[in-house]
Assembly symmetry: C2
Homo-oligomer: 340 residues x 2
DNA sequence: CTGAAAGCGCTTACAG
DNA sequence: CTGAAAGCGCTTACAG
């Protein structure tokens, strides 16, 4: 061992007076070695403070024990708890998560996933951007085991973890209708997102089914809070104003809440509110919000399991797992004024 | 190339009709190669969809272009934005962050950092647990460039990024005193944390300096919200109850807010509140809170810079960078009732 | 039970 | 400008 540099298995073998192969075998418990030599190797390794170079192992074994995770961002409670859950699962199984951020940009997603592939991750968990075509092609071309989480409905090449957005929206509307609401407003952020589209479709078909007893409007807030405020102003001060608002994500919820607050419109007295996604600190908002909660732990566990099985059996038929997210009824929904 | 397997540089060279060395040179732009061969190699690489195996590169070059980041957790706005900032910095400089979670446990911290070292990260950014001794020893023994962020005051072996907790606390107390507050309550979570200790010390010495004009109590909430509530109950309903509360972190702030809310104690009318750490969704809390904001972006940028310079010049003298976190005055602090 | 040797996929002096 | 070859630190048949 050159002085001051990191000890290798060669140094261990030398000090123990055995061959490199033998040293490797005792260190990995991969063959029976005489007790005498065994102890010699263990002792030498300890004295030298030897840690195997995982790069070399990975290269030799064509297995890194690293799985890649690509998500849009991290500063959102949903993603944060997903990472934590996945991290714990991976560690407990001797793996390590290497996470990259797409920032929601298809190009960045492609670049980051490419970097994961270059680092030879054993598998990939992807929460796709709006247009992941090239990323998916790349992953498929390299035959990397992968599972796609949500946002994509049909994709023959990969295992899928899906959330049942339609059923969830149905549950929301049902809840509001039972309370007596007839005019709904759905505030979305990006109408092009599959998730959002599914929710809108469900809402519309329920309106149709109701044969006139239910009406619904959908407004988008592509850019700024200001846009939203203007649109809300045009809607909420009319005789036929909606009596219940549904928001499609946390950001929207925040904006709507602030708008209502600033105009002193009380929840649920003046208008009911249902939010998709649990809010961090949601307990502090008064009143506590009725929300559709994402089953984060389920999503992580399912994705992990699918990935492990895929790595095990690359040729097995692809699978789709549908997960349920549930309505949590709190104080922000109540019967509308008209029916009280 | 065996059918179906990942193409290597050997496959590229073969297809281009050049030696492996030459292929490597054009791919890395590391030597002048005739235009003809150059184009041949580029074409072959594109056709084969070749991506260099970073494991092999790293092994050969003894450089992974990966830096390790060890933090307690991720589902806290402070850590989340730290990760995002560090991630962006690293990518822009051709590196990749590999992040591990200590969960606040010294043992887990040791294990995870050991795994980073086994993977031969080029450097480590560590936000230490309460007792990082063995982790620090490990890092030092392996001569891995590292920078420690906050929570540690003196440590000769590493570069340090510090936050000026004493000055921040001084600023808080000064603000409250100028408003007319004389009886303060400091609610902490873990009194053993260096950060907390520094704040408590500063508070106490300011009380001493005030020569009786200022009093302060400190209560800890080691375990449950219930503990805190009991302690608060014993303090807030007396004649000499504190007129201003300072909370040491977001969790505490949440608990205190809920307690005050449940007893209908109004902020800032009945009691003023200053919180360490900005809250996510803090804008929704009414009134908006006066907080001490952590300079996340600064912390990330400074840590990154120190690390890069350390990797560049391992023998340079160790450095300590002191960063400032500032008081953001909002509506949760006002003069106490008595002085109105 | 043990060791010598090939090989994982690269980079990089070294000759020519 | 180009190629043959050594070597990064491991694991793993293969002989003995």
């Amino acid at each position: 061992m050159k002085n001051g540099s990191v000890p290798t298995i060669k140094d261990v073998a030398l000090r123990a007076g055995v061959s490199v192969g033998t040293a490797s075998h005792v260190l990995n418990n991969t063959a029976v070695v005489s007790k005498a030599r065994h102890d010699l190797v263990v002792k030498a390794a300890a004295e030298l403070n030897y840690r195997p170079n995982q790069l070399a192992r990975s290269l030799r074994q064509s297995k890194t024990n690293v799985v890649g995770l690509c998500i849009p961002m991290i500063s959102s409670a949903y993603f944060a708890s997903l990472i934590e859950a996945l991290d714990e699962l991976s560690i407990s199984q001797g793996h390590q998560v290497m996470q990259v951020l797409s920032g929601g940009s298809p190009q960045q997603e492609l670049d980051r996933v490419e970097s994961l592939i270059s680092r030879r991750v054993d598998g990939i968990v992807l929460m796709p951007t709006t247009d992941p075509t090239r990323t998916l092609d790349l992953i498929a071309r390299h035959h990397v085991p992968a599972v796609i989480v949500d946002r994509i409905q049909h994709e023959e090449r990969f295992d899928l973890v899906l959330l049942d957005h339609q059923r969830a929206m149905r549950e929301v509307v049902e809840h509001l209708r039972l309370l007596g609401h007839e005019r709904l407003l759905f505030v979305v952020r990006n109408p092009n997102l599959i998730t959002t589209r599914l929710r809108i479709d469900t809402l519309r078909s329920m309106v149709t089914e109701s044969a006139g007893r239910l009406t619904a409007q959908v407004i988008g807030t592509p850019n700024e809070a200001q846009d939203l405020q203007d649109q809300l102003k045009g809607l909420l001060w009319r005789d036929d104003a909606p009596t219940a608002i549904i928001t499609s994500n946390s950001i929207n919820t925040l904006w709507v809440l602030r708008y209502l607050q600033s105009w002193n419109i009380r929840i649920p007295h003046d208008v009911s509110l249902v939010a998709f996604d649990e809010l961090p600190w949601g307990e502090l908002v008064s009143p506590p919000l009725t929300v559709v909660r994402q089953p984060t732990a389920d999503v992580a566990a399912t994705a992990w399991q699918l990935l492990m099985e895929r790595m095990e059996t690359p040729t097995a038929p692809k699978r789709r797992e549908m997960l349920q997210n549930h309505l949590v009824v709190r104080a922000s929904t109540s019967p509308p004024i008209s029916s009280r």
